[in-house]
C-alpha cells in the first residue's frame, strides 16, 4: 500500500446517509408505498443498510425490514480466482414478491456486483421495484447500471481502490478512503 487518503469523515458519511434516507422516504411517499425494504450486499452494504434503516427509524419511528445478501453463487468471475472466501449467510426475513426493494452497497464501481445481486435477489421472487443506493459512486461502470441514491461521487484513477469503513475501534480508521496498492 503506497497511498491511503481519507476522502470523507464519519461525520460527513452520517450526513450523506441522512440525505439518502430522506430521498428514499420521499420517493416511497410519492408513490404511496408502504411495503419497502432494504437489502444490504455483503460485506459493507450490510452495515450501510443498517445505518439507512436507523435513519429511517429516526424519521418515521418505524424500522423497515432489512435483508443481507451474499452474491458468491452469482458472480461472473467464478473459476477465475485463485482462492474462494467463505460464503456468508443470506438472510431475507420477508417475502420479496411485490416489494419495493432498496438494494444497498458501499461502492458502485463496475456494476458487476449489482448485476449479480439482481440475479440473486430475483431468485427469491419478483419485487415490484428495485432501486440502488450506494455511499460512493465511482462513475466507471462496465455495465449499464446506475445508482438511484448516491452519497458521494468520486473519480479516482482506475487502479485506485475506494474503501469504506464504518466500525473500526479507532475513529481515525473510519471513513471513505482512496487506496493505491503497489
Amino acid at each position: 500500500m503506497t497511498l491511503r487518503k481519507r476522502l470523507h469523515t464519519p461525520e460527513e458519511i452520517a450526513g450523506a446517509i441522512e440525505q439518502m434516507a430522506n430521498a428514499i422516504l420521499k420517493d416511497c411517499r410519492s408513490v404511496n408505498c408502504q411495503d419497502y425494504a432494504f437489502v444490504g450486499i455483503y460485506q459493507q452494504g450490510v452495515p450501510l443498510a443498517e445505518r439507512l434503516c436507523d435513519a429511517i427509524e429516526r424519521l418515521t419511528k418505524t424500522r423497515p425490514p432489512m435483508a443481507k445478501l451474499d452474491i458468491s453463487l452469482y458472480r461472473d468471475d467464478f473459476g477465475q480466482r485463485s482462492a474462494l472466501p467463505l460464503i456468508r449467510e443470506t438472510i431475507i426475513p420477508f417475502d420479496v414478491n411485490e416489494m419495493r426493494i432498496i438494494l444497498v452497497d458501499d461502492v458502485l464501481s463496475t456494476g458487476r456486483t449489482i448485476r449479480a445481486a439482481l440475479d440473486a435477489l430475483t431468485d427469491y421472487g419478483r419485487p415490484d421495484v428495485i432501486r440502488l443506493a450506494v455511499l460512493v459512486d465511482r462513475r466507471n461502470p462496465e455495465f449499464p447500471i446506475r445508482a438511484d441514491y448516491v452519497g458521494f461521487d468520486c473519480n479516482p484513477p482506475a487502479d485506485h481502490k475506494i474503501a469504506v469503513r464504518f466500525d473500526a475501534e479507532d475513529p481515525i480508521e473510519n471513513g471513505i478512503f482512496e487506496v493505491e496498492w503497489e
Binding site: L73, S82, A83, L84, E89, T90, Y124
Partner: protein, 308 residues
C-alpha cells in the same frame, strides 16, 4: 481462511480448518435447496464428468443432482460402457476425458488411490466419490455435517462406528475427519472385521456392543455385505444381528439423545431393525438430504479456483 484446492481426494489431506470451511459452505447450500428456486448459476458453463468405474446409485444420483443445482453440464460415464473394457489404461481414459475440455471429474474406482493418481496428471479438478476401502470423503463430510447440525459441535463427542470397518472407506474417512475435529472415535464390531491395528492412529477398538454404544453420542452403522459371510468373517447374518445388530434393546443402552446414522443402503434386521431405522434417534434420511448440500459445497469450492 480461503479455499485453494482444485481436488478433494481424502479428508486425511485436509486440515481441521478446511473441513470446517466445507461444512460452513454446505450450510449455505442447504438453504439453497430449501428455496423455491433451488438452482444457482455458480457452475454455469462448467462441465463435470461423473466417471463411475465401480457401480454406484445413491452417491452418483446425489452428485448429479448437486451438479444440476449448480447449473453445471453433466456427462455420466460408467465402466461397462467405457474403453477400459477394451483395454485402455485408466490414465488414457481420463486424459481423453480432459481433452474434451471438462472442468471437473467426479470418480469412483475400486482401486485405492486411483483418484490421487489421476489428479496428479490432470489439470482439471478431481473429486473422490469412493476408492476401494480407502476413502469416501463426501460421505464422511455429510456424516460430520449431520452430527454438527444436530449437536452444534464435534469436539469432545463420542462417536462409535460399528460394523465392517476392515472393508469400509466410509469408516476410514469418518475416522480421519472426526479425529481432526476433536471427536473421540470408537471402532466396533466382530474382531475379524475390526483389527486392533487401528488403535495406533488414536481410536479405540471395541469388540463388545454394549461397551461400544453405552457412552456414545453418535452410533454410525455400516452396511454388512452378505458376501463377507461367505468369506468367513462371521458365521451368519443372523448371528451378526444377534451380537452386533442395533435393536430397541440396544437403543435403551445408549444415551437417550444418541444419533443413529447409516450411510445406506440399510439391511433391515441385519445391522439395524426397522423400529430403530425408522425411530426417533435415526437421522438416516437427513444424512441423504445433507449429502446434497455437502456435495454442492465441495463441487463449488473445487471448481471455483484456478491453480496458480
Amino acid at each position: 481462511m480461503e479455499w485453494t484446492r482444485k481436488d478433494l481426494l481424502s479428508l486425511y489431506d485436509l486440515s481441521a480448518e478446511e473441513i470446517t470451511f466445507i461444512l460452513d459452505t454446505a450450510e449455505e447450500f442447504k438453504k439453497v435447496s430449501e428455496r423455491k428456486v433451488k438452482k444457482v448459476p455458480a457452475l454455469r458453463g462448467k462441465t463435470v464428468v461423473n466417471f463411475f468405474v465401480e457401480p454406484s446409485t445413491r452417491t452418483r444420483v446425489s452428485f448429479e443432482l448437486a451438479e444440476q443445482r449448480l447449473s453445471a453440464d453433466i456427462v455420466n460415464m460408467q465402466a461397462q460402457a467405457s474403453s477400459l473394457k477394451k483395454g485402455e489404461t485408466l490414465l488414457d481414459t481420463v486424459r481423453n476425458i480432459e481433452a474434451l475440455q471438462v472442468d471437473l471429474v467426479v470418480m469412483r474406482h475400486s482401486a485405492p488411490g486411483a483418484q490421487n493418481f489421476i489428479a496428479q496428471h490432470l489439470k482439471c479438478g478431481v473429486v473422490n466419490a469412493g476408492d476401494g476401502a480407502h476413502s469416501h470423503p463426501t460421505q464422511a463430510l455429510l456424516d460430520i455435517f449431520t452430527i454438527r447440525e444436530k449437536r452444534g459441535h464435534i469436539k469432545g463427542l463420542n462417536v462409535t462406528i460399528l460394523g465392517d470397518i476392515l472393508h469400509s472407506r466410509v469408516a476410514r474417512s469418518n475416522m480421519w475427519g472426526l479425529l481432526k475435529l476433536g471427536a473421540n472415535v470408537t471402532l466396533a464390531g466382530p474382531s475379524t472385521l475390526v483389527p486392533r491395528e487401528f488403535e495406533s492412529i488414536g481410536v479405540k477398538v471395541c469388540h463388545d456392543l454394549k461397551e461400544a454404544v453405552s457412552n456414545a453420542d453418535v452410533v454410525n452403522l455400516l452396511r454388512i455385505q452378505h458376501e463377507r459371510q461367505s468369506s468367513g468373517f462371521f458365521p451368519s447374518t443372523s448371528e451378526y444381528a444377534r451380537f452386533f445388530g442395533i435393536n430397541c434393546e440396544t437403543v435403551k443402552l445408549m444415551k437417550p439423545d444418541a444419533l443413529i446414522m447409516h450411510p445406506g443402503p440399510i439391511n433391515r434386521d441385519v445391522e439395524i431393525t426397522s423400529e430403530v431405522a425408522d425411530g426417533p434417534n435415526s437421522v438416516i434420511l437427513e444424512q441423504v438430504t445433507n449429502g446434497l448440500a455437502v456435495r454442492m459445497a465441495v463441487l463449488f469450492l473445487v471448481a471455483g479456483c484456478v491453480q496458480k
